[in-house]
C-alpha cells in the first residue's frame, strides 16, 4: 500500500517526540541514584502510576494488534481484550501488595527476598530479559508499521527511529521519565480512542464506505467440460487456473496485464470476482494488482455487503448508538478479505479474496479460532484456544515491566489503588477496541498487507487531522512501552545480574551507569529484532510473550507468596522449565514454521500457544523440586 505523507502528521509526531525528549532532559538532572533510575524514587502518586500502568500495558499490541485482529477476525480479536484485562484481576487480588512489600527495584528482588539465592538471581534475571525481549519485538514491529504511512519512511527506518528515541529516554532518566511518558501516552490514547469511537458511531454504517472506495468488478465465466474457456467480457483472456484448499483462482489477461480472479459457482452460474493480489517474480519484482507499488493500484478494502435494520435491508443507517452499532453488524453481512498463497510457475502469488461473512459469525468466536464441530475444529484447535485464554489470564501479573511499576509508588495501599485505576482505564479502552476494530472492518480502511494499521487507517477515513493525532499517539504508545521494557531489561542485566549475581563492586553512580549501558545494548538488539519480524501481527506476538511470562514467572511468584514449602531451587528450576518449554513449543509451532518458510502443517507441535503445557510443567517442577530440597529451605524475610 502506498500512503500519502501528511505534513500535519509529521508536525504532531515531532511535537510528541519533542515533549517526550523534553521530559527526559528535565528528569535526567534528578536521576542520580539507582533508586531514582530503577524505581523513580518510589514517590509516584498512585493515580499517575495507575494511568502509567495503563500506558505501559496498552502497547502496540493493544491498540494496533487487537484492533487489527478484530478488523480481520471479528470477535476472536476481542478475546485478547477480554483476556488481557482479566489478567489484571490476578495482579490486583494476588500479586500487587505482597510484591510491593517484598521487592526493591526488580521482579528478581521480590522472588529472592526470602532466600538470597544465586540460582534465583540468575534464572529470574534471564527470565526478565527473555520476556521483555519477546514483548519488545512486537512493539518495534508496530513502530515500523506506523512510520510507513505517518512519515513516508520504510519500515526499517521506523524501527531505527523509535529505537533510538527510546534508548535516549531510558538512558537519560530511567523510570522517572518513563513513568511520565507513560502517563501522558496513556491519557492521550484513551481520550483519542474515545473520540475515534464517537466518529465511528456518528458516521454509522453504509454500503459505500467512502467516495473513493474501489468498486470490485465481476464477469461471467463460460465453462465447457469443467474447464473455463472464456468470459462474457471479451477483453479477458483465460490463461490458467489454480485450486487452493478447494478454492479456484483464475489467471486472466487484460490489456496485456495478468490479473487473478476468484471463481464462484452458484447453481448453474459461474462468476469471476476481482481480488487483491501480489505477484513476486523470480527476479524479485513485486507487482501489486499487476503493477509496481508506485502506480497505487492496491486498494484499501473492507465493506458491508448487506445492512439489515429491523428486518429490512438499507443502504446506510446514519448515526447509531454503541449497542445499536453492534446489533446492526450482527444482523448484516460483511465482506472480509481472506488470504491464500500459492505458486504459478516460478511466480509466488498471494491473493486476498472477497469472503462475505454473516454478521452473526463476526460477533462470536470462531473466525480465527475454530471451536465448533461445524467449522471443523480439532482437538488441537480447542487446546490452542484454551491455551491462549490461560496465558492471557496468567501472563499480566508475570510481566516484569509491569511488576516493576509497583516499586514506583510509596506504599502497598498506593500499589493497590494504582492497579484499580489501571483496570478502569484499560477496561474502558478495551471496550473501545471492539468499536475501532469493527469500524475498520467496514470502513474500507484495511491494508491487507498489515493488519496492524487498521485503527490508524480507520482514523484516516475521518480526516488527516484525526489520523495524524492517532498515529502520533500510536507511536508514542510504542515509545512508552518500549521505554518500560528497556528499563526492566536493563534492571535485569545491571541490577540483578551484574550487581546481585556477579556481585561486582560498584558505587551507586556506577550502578546507574551500568543500567544505562545495558539499556543501550538492549535497545540496539530490539531494533534488529523489530526489522527481522516485520509483517507479523503484534497482538499475536505479545500473546506469546504472555505465555512465556505466565510459564516462567507466575508459578514462581504465586508459590512464593502462598506455599511455605517453596524453596529457592524449586523457584529456579520452575523458571528454567517454564522458559525452555514455552519457547521450545513456540519455536516448533505452526506459526513459526510458516515464518521459517516451511509448511505449517509439518510443525511437530500443532500448538501456537504454549501455556496449556508449559505453565503446568513449571508448576509441577516447582512442587517436585521444592519437596526434594526441603532440607535447604531456610527461608528468611530478607526484605525487612
Amino acid at each position: 500500500m502506498i500512503y500519502e505523507v501528511s505534513n500535519l502528521a509529521i508536525i504532531i509526531f515531532l511535537f510528541i517526540v519533542g515533549l517526550v525528549l523534553g521530559l527526559s532532559f528535565y528528569f535526567a538532572r534528578k536521576t542520580k541514584s539507582s533508586a531514582s533510575y530503577y524505581a523513580a524514587g518510589g514517590n509516584i502518586h498512585w493515580a499517575v502510576n495507575g494511568i502509567a500502568f495503563a500506558g505501559d500495558y496498552l502497547s502496540a499490541a493493544s491498540f494496533l494488534g487487537i484492533c487489527g485482529m478484530i478488523a480481520y477476525s471479528g470477535y476472536d480479536g476481542f478475546l485478547y481484550s477480554i483476556g488481557y484485562l482479566a489478567g489484571w484481576v490476578v495482579a490486583l487480588f494476588l500479586v500487587a501488595e505482597p510484591l510491593k512489600k517484598l521487592g526493591k527495584y526488580t521482579f528478581t528482588d521480590a522472588l529472592d527476598s526470602k532466600f538470597n539465592s544465586k540460582y534465583i538471581k540468575l534464572t529470574a534475571s534471564i527470565s526478565t530479559l527473555i520476556v521483555s525481549i519477546f514483548y519488545l519485538i512486537p512493539q518495534m514491529v508496530g513502530a515500523g508499521d506506523l512510520v510507513v504511512p505517518l512519515l513516508g519512511l520504510p519500515h526499517w527506518m521506523g524501527v531505527v527511529i523509535v529505537g533510538s528515541i527510546v534508548i535516549f529516554i531510558v538512558a537519560t532518566a530511567g523510570m522517572t521519565s518513563t513513568t511520565y511518558v507513560q502517563f501522558i501516552k496513556g491519557t492521550l490514547l484513551v481520550i483519542f480512542s474515545t473520540i475515534l469511537t464517537i466518529y465511528i458511531l456518528t458516521n454509522g454504517l453504509s454500503l459505500t464506505p467512502n467516495d473513493n472506495y474501489h468498486k470490485f468488478t465481476q464477469t461471467q465465466a463460460l465453462i465447457t467440460n469443467d474447464t473455463i474457456v472464456s468470459t462474457t467480457d471479451p477483453a479477458f483472456v483465460v490463461k490458467n487456473t489454480r485450486v487452493v484448499d478447494k478454492l479456484i483462482f483464475v489467471k486472466l489477461e487484460k490489456d496485456g496485464v495478468d490479473c487473478w480472479y476468484k471463481l464462484n459457482k452458484k447453481e448453474d452460474k459461474a462468476t469471476l470476482e476481482e481480488m487483491l493480489y501480489i505477484v513476486l517474480t523470480p527476479n524479485g519484482e513485486k507487482l501489486y494488482n499487476g503493477a509496481p507499488k508506485s502506480e497505487n493500484k492496491f486498494y484499501q478494502v473492507g465493506h458491508l455487503s448487506k445492512i439489515v435494520v429491523d428486518g429490512k435491508e438499507v443502504d446506510k443507517t446514519g448515526p447509531v448508538g454503541p449497542f445499536e452499532f453492534i446489533k446492526t453488524i450482527e444482523k448484516s453481512e460483511i465482506v472480509r478479505f481472506s488470504k491464500k498463497a500459492f505458486t504459478d510457475g516460478e511466480d509466488k502469488i498471494t491473493v486476498w479474496y472477497q469472503n462475505p461473512t454473516k454478521g452473526e459469525d463476526v460477533m462470536k468466536p470462531g473466525l480465527l479460532y475454530k471451536l465448533s464441530k461445524a467449522a471443523g475444529a480439532s482437538f488441537w484447535d480447542k487446546l490452542n484456544f484454551l491455551s491462549l485464554m490461560l496465558a492471557l489470564f496468567l501472563g499480566t501479573s508475570a510481566l516484569p515491566h509491569i511488576l516493576i511499576r509497583y516499586y514506583t509508588v510509596p506504599s502497598q495501599r498506593a500499589a493497590r489503588k494504582s492497579t484499580i485505576v489501571a483496570i478502569a482505564a484499560i477496561g474502558f479502552f478495551y471496550v473501545l477496541t471492539l468499536y475501532m476494530g469493527l469500524g475498520s472492518m467496514i470502513s474500507g480502511a484495511l491494508d491487507v498487507e498489515s493488519s496492524n494499521m487498521s485503527a490508524p487507517l480507520l482514523a484516516k477515513t475521518f480526516g488527516v487531522g484525526i489520523f495524524s493525532i492517532i498515529s502520533a499517539i500510536a507511536l508514542a504508545t510504542v515509545l512508552g512501552t518500549v521505554s518500560g521494557l528497556i528499563v526492566a531489561s536493563s534492571g535485569a542485566i545491571a541490577h540483578d545480574f551484574i550487581d546481585k549475581y556477579l556481585q561486582v563492586e560498584m558505587t551507586d553512580k556506577a550502578k546507574v551507569k551500568a543500567g544505562k549501558m545495558a539499556a543501550v545494548c538492549v535497545g540496539i538488539f530490539a531494533i534488529i529484532l523489530g526489522i527481522l519480524f516485520k509483517g507479523m501481527n503484534v497482538s499475536f506476538l505479545v500473546g506469546l510473550a504472555f505465555a512465556v511470562a505466565a510459564s516462567a514467572n507466575l508459578p514462581a511468584i504465586l508459590f512464593l507468596l502462598f506455599w511455605k514449602k517453596t524453596t529457592a531451587k524449586g523457584i529456579a528450576w520452575s523458571i528454567i522449565v517454564g522458559i525452555v518449554s514455552s519457547i521450545g513449543i513456540i519455536l516448533f509451532s505452526p506459526t513459526m514454521y510458516d515464518k521459517y518458510g516451511l509448511i505449517p502443517k509439518d510443525a511437530p507441535i500443532p500448538l501456537d500457544n504454549p501455556g496449556i503445557i508449559s505453565i503446568p510443567l513449571a508448576v509441577i517442577t516447582l512442587i517436585i523440586v521444592s519437596l526434594l530440597t526441603q532440607k535447604e529451605n531456610h527461608t528468611k524475610d530478607f526484605s525487612k
Binding site: 530503577y38 481484550s81 459469525d361 477496561g427 546481585k500
Partner: protein, 90 residues
C-alpha cells in the same frame, strides 16, 4: 546482599485479612472467566444466541467480564481500605 524495598512500607496488620479477601475474590472472578472459556470450548454456538436488547451472549459475557473486573476492583479496595483503617489505627 539484602533486598530492601525501595520505600519503607511499614507494618500492615491487615495484610493477612486482605490476602484472604484477595484470594476469595480471585476465585470468584476465575469462576466467571472459566465459564466464558468453557462455553467457547464446549458449546461455542451458544455464544451467538441473542440474550438482551439484540446483543448475543458473546458480547454480553465479554463486556460483562470487563465491567465485573472494574467493579470487583472498587469493592476490593473499599474493604481493604476499611480493614487498613481499622487494624492499623494504633
Amino acid at each position: 546482599m539484602l533486598h530492601k524495598p525501595a520505600t519503607n512500607t511499614g507494618t500492615d496488620k491487615a495484610a493477612a485479612k486482605k490476602a484472604k479477601l484477595g484470594v476469595k475474590m480471585f476465585f470468584v472472578y476465575t469462576l466467571v472467566y472459566s465459564g466464558f472459556v468453557l462455553i467457547g470450548l464446549t458449546k461455542p454456538e451458544i455464544m451467538g444466541l441473542e440474550l438482551i436488547g439484540g446483543q448475543n451472549i458473546a458480547i454480553i459475557y465479554g463486556f460483562g467480564l470487563i465491567v465485573l473486573a472494574i467493579i470487583m476492583g472498587f469493592v476490593y479496595n473499599y474493604f481493604c481500605t476499611r480493614m487498613e483503617n481499622k487494624m492499623n489505627k494504633n
